[in-house]
């Protein structure tokens, strides 16, 4: 009898009191537009295209991000300048489809495409959700400051010949017999 009383009535009253006492507890709510929440650096938000430390576009138009994208919202076209550098002729992300999964960032071999902690991307016109390369490209290096793809890869471009990259051995002259 007593346990029944304790389990039913007393526990209800205790619940009521505990919930009532919450009125003194400070609310957890962040008053968003006035009070900006702290966004963690690795938050997966608005996508940017970064540049390497020399100020050149990092993207080499390899299409890996477009392939990795689960919702197929990246479209790009490769082109090449006279020095042999590859870069995208256009680079288009349809943010109304993007699910901010970050797979493109994982796939990119050049750290060009990066997700940033910005999430305020709402638009009134749906067409405005499609971002072109001019909108995506920033002038900085993003999250990775020293990395420059052409400095580590073996590709020959203007001002850098074969074998001049970091950790790269000078090409072997296959026509010579010397070791």
């Amino acid at each position: 009898m007593f346990t029944l009383f304790k389990d039913t009535l007393v526990s209800q009253v205790v619940t009521l009191w505990k919930v009532f006492a919450k009125i003194l507890v400070k609310a957890d709510t962040v008053q968003y537009p006035e009070e900006q929440p702290y966004m963690f650096p690795r938050w997966r938000g608005r996508i940017i295209l970064s540049r390497d430390p020399d100020g050149e576009e990092r993207c080499v138009a390899c299409n890996l991000c477009a392939v990795a994208c689960p919702v197929d919202c990246i479209a790009l076209q490769k082109t090449e300048d006279e020095e042999g550098r590859w870069y995208p002729e256009f680079f288009r992300i349809n943010f109304s489809r993007c699910i901010m999964c970050g797979f493109c960032e994982e796939a990119c071999p050049t750290n060009a495409i990066q997700l940033t902690p910005d999430f305020e991307m709402a638009e009134y016109v749906r067409q405005d959700m499609v971002w072109e390369k001019e909108d995506l490209l920033i002038s900085g290096t993003g999250k990775y400051h020293d990395y420059s793809f052409y400095n580590v890869c073996g590709k020959k471009i203007g001002g850098k010949d074969k074998g001049e990259a970091q950790n790269e051995a000078v090409p072997v002259n296959v026509r010579s017999l010397l070791p």
Partner: protein
């Protein structure tokens, strides 16, 4: 224009105040709930979000007023009107303060019970004419719940009626000058409170509209202003039950003289409204069969014994 029971000034101001308070309760409830859940609640529209109700009303007016083609139009339109009408009529007998009230009726308590029993039709018709399984389930539950808890509500009141010797709510208030009835009739008060929650199907007894089980129960098919009428009707019922508890068990407008009677009445009513909202925040919903068996096997015997004991004590005191 004077403050008399039944004067036009009295009637119009009661109607206006009751409806405005019921609408504002939407905001009060949301804010109180959020305080108890460590949130802030609607605080954007106007000071402290006071105009949230206006925004909600504008929104609800612009919603499509949709009657499903498979519904029975007659009952579908009638149902929300019934609940508003019945509850507003019940306010006619509530004594707000000396001189503030609509009628001073000798059968006030009975009239209130009659209106409460008619309120069941709104829910029944709404569910039945929606022609929808969830709505029908909600209506079935609501009917059984309301018809059963009406019984306990009536019986729990009778102790108060026996003590005061009158069905007139005004006389019941005046009879409490020497002490509120909550002390001699504590059991009756608890039963009336529980039955009142069940009658107005508020949480934790919102079994007819249990969202997690049956969509929105009897008003699943309702939208626009018709839904709004059900919604405001629910809050009107909340105000009504709180006022009745105040009148029957907590001395109505009686209180120390430094505040006018109507203020005392409002303070008491708002305490109970707050308590109902606290119940909503804290207590989980029982199962349907638990509710029914609890009512018939626990509340009914207790309320009958309470009536019997009260009557015996009154007889022996004479």
């Amino acid at each position: 224009m004077t403050w008399e029971v039944g004067s036009p000034l009295s009637i119009i101001s009661i109607l206006a105040v009751v409806i405005v308070v019921a609408a504002m309760l939407i905001w009060v409830e949301r804010r109180l709930l959020s305080f108890w859940q460590e949130r802030l609640g609607p605080n954007r529209v106007g000071y402290f979000g006071l105009l949230q109700v206006v925004a909600d009303m504008i929104k609800i007016f612009y919603k499509e007023d949709w009657i499903p083609p498979f519904a029975d139009k007659f009952g579908f339109v009638l149902a929300p009107a019934i609940i508003m009408m019945v509850i507003l009529l019940s306010f006619a007998v509530v004594p707000f303060a000396p001189g503030v009230g609509v009628i001073d009726s000798n059968i006030g308590v009975l009239f209130m019970l009659a209106m409460a029993s008619l309120g069941a039709y709104s829910v029944m018709l709404g569910g039945l004419s929606s022609n929808n399984k969830y709505a029908l389930l909600g209506a079935l539950r609501a009917t059984a719940q309301m018809v059963s808890y009406e019984v306990f509500m009536g019986i729990s009141l009778l102790g108060v009626v026996a003590l005061s010797g009158s069905f007139n709510l005004r006389e019941i208030v005046l009879a409490q000058q020497d002490g509120w009835y909550v002390i001699p009739q504590f059991v009756g008060f608890v039963i009336f409170l529980i039955a009142g929650i069940a009658e107005s199907h508020r949480l934790p007894f919102d079994i007819p509209e249990a969202e997690q089980e049956i969509c929105a129960g009897y008003h699943t098919e309702y939208s626009g202003m018709k839904f709004g009428m059900f919604f405001v009707g629910e809050y009107l019922g909340l105000v009504l039950i709180s006022s009745l508890i105040t009148v029957l068990f907590f001395g109505g407008w009686l209180g120390p003289a430094f505040l006018p009677p109507i203020i005392w009445f409002s303070i008491k009513v708002f305490c109970f409204i707050g308590f109902f909202i606290l119940l909503r925040a804290a207590v989980p919903r029982p199962r349907y069969d638990q509710l029914m068996s609890y009512g018939w096997l626990v509340l009914l015997p207790i309320s009958l014994i309470n009536l019997l004991v009260t009557a015996a004590i009154i007889l022996s005191m004479q």
